[in-house]
């Protein structure tokens, strides 16, 4: 259990730190960096406690089930490979935090910076100690997001935003491919557990899906690790603050792809396909990156391309599928992390102290900033692979491996190309150190300002450089055991015997190395001429190509969208209706008799009259839809007949609801029509009307036919019996419909009142903002066009409505109280109460009524929903599940025995929400109309006076 806790704490620490920093965003820079540093240091201590056993061969792991149905477990495990990476992430993380503390200005958003940085650290740690493929993917995506935030930290800079977007697009896109590849891998291997997958390499490589999953996984790795041709995002990511570049874009995140290649080495490596792709991509990237780095001028850009090149070398080594090459890769990961992070920080120092990163403006800085010069020169020498530094040893190992593989069948090709890459590397490393620190200053201004920073700023790179030196002087002591263990972890086999040393005698690797150094020196000597040639050659600009391809995709996606999804409601509705009609016709093909066998109810003559009224009213609505006021009368006839239908067929609750909704709807339409055009011209052409008419008739016949087929058949077994049997005994009410609403299916009702509340608030939002802009101008220009009585608020109506108000409210309360046992309930009572108040608005006008309003409709909606939810949650207090109701019988003197049910409280919530939503919609609408009328009246009197 202790191990499990350690692992969990290890991953959780950075996230906790991120949260703490984000919450304390108003604190000072020192607080932020202290939290981040403490988290990194704490992580290092935990890691150190695990280091001994892990190198000794143990693999601590811990598993918690997370989503077992998906095979997603929270499995953490730490093997030597994970240990090395975790050490880099935490160790360099700590140094970067210290460096960033001095690099960032105190008035920058350091809270956001360190929170993002810690988020990244946690995600990256997650990748390297995840023991489950799906978990790894989660962390993988998280690093892309954190990187996006960090690159775009200086939000006000366009290149930061563009760089962040590009990095996210490329690594995120690769991440998508990776998800596909990893899921396929898990399915082929039969498990998402990494340890299990690693043991099933043979099964995976033999699977017909192997090429697909390999391609997808490699796509993910190559985009993340900036391999050619996906490298272009990395130089643009340099828009990030330098500590971020030092951390993410040299030591950690870009190595995630390399890490994953190493992690899956036993499963994926060894096939011809793997070796071919990975080796050639790595080799191309190595040479290409090194070549471009030679001709860059921005310090960080040089370092970015050099990182691309070095990552290419690592990928190539893993691509060899040789255990000794894996050893070289493991050692070089350590070396590269040390010298590259030191170089990035040095670049940051130079920029910080001189105000520029342009190498063409700098020079001779060794005199002005000797400490920085010493650090950076040593680190660059390690990067160049010069003895006696760490970089020399890993480059020797790399060159030693190259003759073992015959590229294109030519045994000399790979050594030659690798040497070419190494030559370029020496070239740009020498140029970086040489042009920056030796010679004469090229411009006076930056040089005049230059001086060594305080200890705090150079301490971190100095420590890293010391490591880079020691990795060359005492490699076996410092890195021997770790490298061996890591190699064993990568290959899944005992590490080959090896000896890390500067001198292995005169061999091919040494000769190649010497050639590279000599060639590099030559490049530096001839740099001016080469640069001129490079600049004459017109080379494709990756950024422009990226943007062009995005613009291209954007254009065609838009075209495709418009082609499929016409922005015309009419056409979309036509298509939807047509599809539904076709589906129904298709369903009818299944056969069966049209008329069922249920005995039918003979209709009364009255029913026939009501039916005829409905048909006639519907026809009138369709035929006369241009005369909008008359249409409202027809609509209300239909609503009335529908209510009568409910009355006739044993649904008193529905009848009450329908009739009150009808009143409210007609009021709403009247108010809206007041502002809408009343008698618009005809728009549709005759053929279109015929087409729509045919579709409408077909739809009507089909739906009517289905209704007929349903009505003439007996229903299947219904769950109604349960509700009927338990309404009184379980729900405490005899009105089964109401008991269903507030008890059996109360969760549905809760959802529905929330929807209604949202509709009410949406209406408010739509209308509240009409005072300004084009809508406001139109409203002000509105003039009343309906003839109305000279007396706006007839006295008789006002007087009558005030008497009716308490009466109607009494009815509403009565309907509400009896709702549990007799037709009524919260919905109906709310509608009746709303009508009572709306009558006041009608009779006495908006202003009079609004002044007397005590509670806002927003509060009513909110309290309604909260009451209903609180009732439901209250059930938890009694150990029941959500919305369980209870009831009891009480007796009071005078009143006698009565029943109280908790469902009543729920129904109160329903009442409040429905009442609030209805009132909000109508009151807001009349408010707009009143405002428009007032504005017009004011303008009118003004105009008349003039």
């Amino acid at each position: 259990m202790a191990i499990a806790l350690t692992l969990l704490t290890l991953v959780a620490l950075p996230f906790v730190a991120a949260l703490a920093t984000a919450l304390l965003h108003q604190a000072t820079r020192a607080v932020h960096s202290a939290i981040a540093a403490a988290a990194s240091a704490g992580g290092l201590v935990l890691l150190a406690s695990l280091a001994g056993p892990v190198i000794g061969g143990e693999i601590p792991f811990a598993t918690w089930q997370w989503v077992p149905s998906l095979g997603l477990d929270l499995t953490l495990m730490i093997d030597p490979l994970g240990l090395m990476f975790a050490g880099l992430i935490l160790g360099i993380g700590l140094l970067v935090v210290i460096f960033a503390h001095f690099y960032l200005d105190a008035d920058e958003a350091t809270g956001r910076f360190f929170a993002s940085l810690m988020l990244f650290q946690g995600a990256m740690l997650g990748i390297v100690i995840a023991g489950n493929v799906l978990l790894l993917l989660v962390f993988w995506e998280m690093t892309s997001l954190a990187s996006f935030l960090l690159i775009g930290f200086w939000q006000h800079r366009a290149e930061a935003r563009q760089g962040a977007r590009m990095a996210l697009a490329v690594t995120g896109g690769g991440g998508l491919a990776l998800i596909g590849g990893m899921v396929l891998l898990g399915l082929v291997a039969g498990s998402f557990d990494i340890a299990t997958i690693l043991a099933r390499g043979d099964i995976v490589r033999a699977s017909p899906l192997y090429p697909v999953l390999l391609g997808l996984i490699l796509l993910g790795c190559f985009t993340k690790s900036a391999q050619f041709p996906f490298h272009f995002w990395l130089p643009h990511a340099m828009a990030a603050p330098t500590p971020v570049s030092a951390y993410l874009h040299s030591a950690t995140m870009v190595k995630a792809g390399v890490f994953l290649l190493a992690r899956l080495w036993p499963v994926l490596a060894g096939t011809e396909l793997y070796t071919g792709i990975v080796t050639s991509v790595g080799l191309t990237t190595m040479i290409f990156g090194a070549l471009v780095a030679l001709f860059r001028h921005d310090l960080k850009s040089i370092l970015a391309y050099s990182t691309i090149s070095q990552l290419g070398m690592l990928v190539m080594l893993l691509g060899f599928s040789l255990e000794t090459a894996a050893l070289a890769a493991a050692l070089h990961i350590l070396n590269h992390a040390a010298f590259k992070a030191a170089l990035f920080m040095s670049a940051g120092i130079v920029e910080h102290e001189t105000g520029t990163r342009d190498i063409r403006r700098l020079g001779g800085l060794a005199k002005a900033m000797p400490m920085t010069a010493l650090i950076a020169t040593l680190a660059a020498a390690s990067m160049a692979g010069l003895p006696p530094l760490g970089g020399f040893i890993s480059k020797e190992l790399m060159l030693y491996e190259t003759p073992k593989l015959a590229l294109l069948g030519l045994p000399w090709l790979l050594p030659a190309l690798a040497t070419l890459g190494a030559t370029f590397s020496v070239g740009y490393s020498l140029r970086l150190a040489g042009h920056l620190f030796s010679g004469r200053p090229r411009e006076a201004e930056p040089f005049a300002r230059a001086h060594d920073p305080g200890f705090g700023m150079w301490a971190a790179p100095a420590l890293l450089t010391v490591l880079a030196v020691l990795l060359g002087l005492i490699p076996m002591l410092l890195a021997g055991p770790l490298t061996g263990a890591v190699t064993a972890a990568i290959t899944g086999a005992p590490a080959p015997a090896f000896d890390l040393a500067l001198w292995h005698g005169l061999n091919l690797a040494l000769i190649l190395s010497l050639i590279a150094v000599a060639g590099g020196a030559l490049l530096l000597w001839q740099h001016k001429r080469l640069l001129a040639a490079w600049e004459r050659a017109s080379l494709p600009d990756a950024k422009r190509m990226f943007e062009a391809s995005f613009a291209f995709a954007d254009k065609w996606v838009r075209k495709a969208t418009v082609a499929v999804h016409t922005p015309s409601l009419q056409r979309m509705l036509l298509a939807s209706f047509a599809v539904i009609v076709l589906l129904v016709i298709d369903g009818i093909q299944a056969g069966g008799s049209f008329t069922g066998t249920r005995s039918l109810l003979p209709a009364s003559p009255l029913a026939f009259i009501a039916w005829a009224l409905l048909i006639a009213a519907t026809a009138a609505v369709v035929n006369d839809s241009h005369n909008r006021l008359r249409v409202l009368i027809y609509i209300s006839v239909i609503g009335l007949v529908v209510s009568l239908t409910f009355v006739q067929f044993s649904a008193p609750d529905l009848a009450l609801t329908q009739i009150s909704v009808e009143v409210v709807t007609i009021l709403l339409l009247l108010l809206a029509l007041n502002l809408l055009p009343k008698s618009p011209p005809l728009l549709s052409s005759a053929p279109r009307k015929w087409r729509d008419g045919m579709l409408a008739v077909t739809g009507g016949v089909l739906v009517g036919g289905i209704a007929w087929a349903m009505l003439t058949r007996d229903p299947g077994p219904s769950i109604a019996a349960y509700h009927l049997a338990n309404a009184k005994s379980g729900g405490g009410g005899t009105n089964v419909v109401n008991v269903i609403l507030v008890d059996f299916r109360a969760f549905d009702t809760l959802g529905e009142i929330i929807v209604l509340g949202i509709a009410g608030l949406g209406i408010f939002a739509l209308l509240d903002s009409t005072a300004t802009g084009a809508a406001g101008a139109r409203l002000r220009a509105w003039r009343e066009d309906m003839p109305h009585s000279p007396e706006r608020h007839p006295l008789m109506l006002v007087a009558a409505s005030r008497i009716v108000l308490p009466l109607t409210l009494t009815v509403a309360i009565y309907l509400f109280l009896r709702g549990h046992n007799q037709p009524g309930g919260g919905f109906i009572a709310a509608l009746v109460a709303a009508i009572a108040f709306l009558v006041q608005y009608l009779a006495a006008g908006f202003d009079w009524s609004d002044r007397r309003k005590r509670i806002g409709e927003h509060q009513l909606i909110a309290w309604g929903v909260l009451t209903a939810m609180a009732t439901g949650l209250g059930a938890f207090l009694f150990g029941s599940s959500f919305l369980t109701s209870t009831f009891g019988y009480f007796s009071l003197p005078l009143i006698g025995k009565f029943e109280l049910a908790s469902a009543m409280l729920f129904d109160t919530g329903v009442f409040l929400t429905v009442f609030g939503a209805v009132m909000l919609a109508l009151a807001q609408l009349s408010h707009i109309a009143a405002r428009a009328a007032r504005a017009h009246a004011a303008q009118h009197s003004e105009g008349g006076g003039a």
Binding site: D653, T657, S679, V697, G705, L724, V737, I740
Partner: protein, 131 residues
């Protein structure tokens, strides 16, 4: 003539009218179409409990047979939600009219009737120049 026949034909007629109106070009007609379709849908849902006369689902010791209460409960909330939807669509069309000066569903410019209360853009300009 049976009740079932009357209800089924009424539903069919409502759907036909609703579809036709929903396909028209002006927002108010579309609102009317949706209203008709809503009536039809509510009636259809209700009808899925079959037609039963005189047996409301009010529990009583002495009564043994009731109509199915479940479709009724569904339709009751559906009626209220229908109001919410209608209100929202009406206000949406009103807002879009105020915003664009057109009550065409796709916001197309249509000739505005001189009888209408809301003048088109030209009237606004006129007001502005006068002010």
């Amino acid at each position: 003539m049976s009740y079932e026949f009357l209800l089924a034909t009424a539903i069919g007629v409502l759907v036909a009218g609703g579809i036709f109106l929903a396909l028209r070009a002006r927002t108010f007609q579309v609102v009317l179409g949706l209203t008709l379709i809503s009536y039809a849908v509510n009636l259809f849902l209700f009808a899925s409990g079959r037609l039963v006369v005189g047996r409301p689902p009010i529990w009583d010791k002495s009564v043994s047979a009731y109509t199915d209460p479940l479709p009724q409960a569904l339709v009751l909330t559906a009626i209220v939600i229908t109001f919410g939807m209608t209100a929202f669509v009406v206000i949406l069309s009103l807002r879009s009219f105020l915003e664009t000066g057109s009550d065409h569903v796709d916001g197309d410019k249509v000739p505005c009737d001189a009888q209408d209360g809301l003048a088109d853009r030209r009237a606004d300009d006129h007001e502005d120049t006068r002010a």
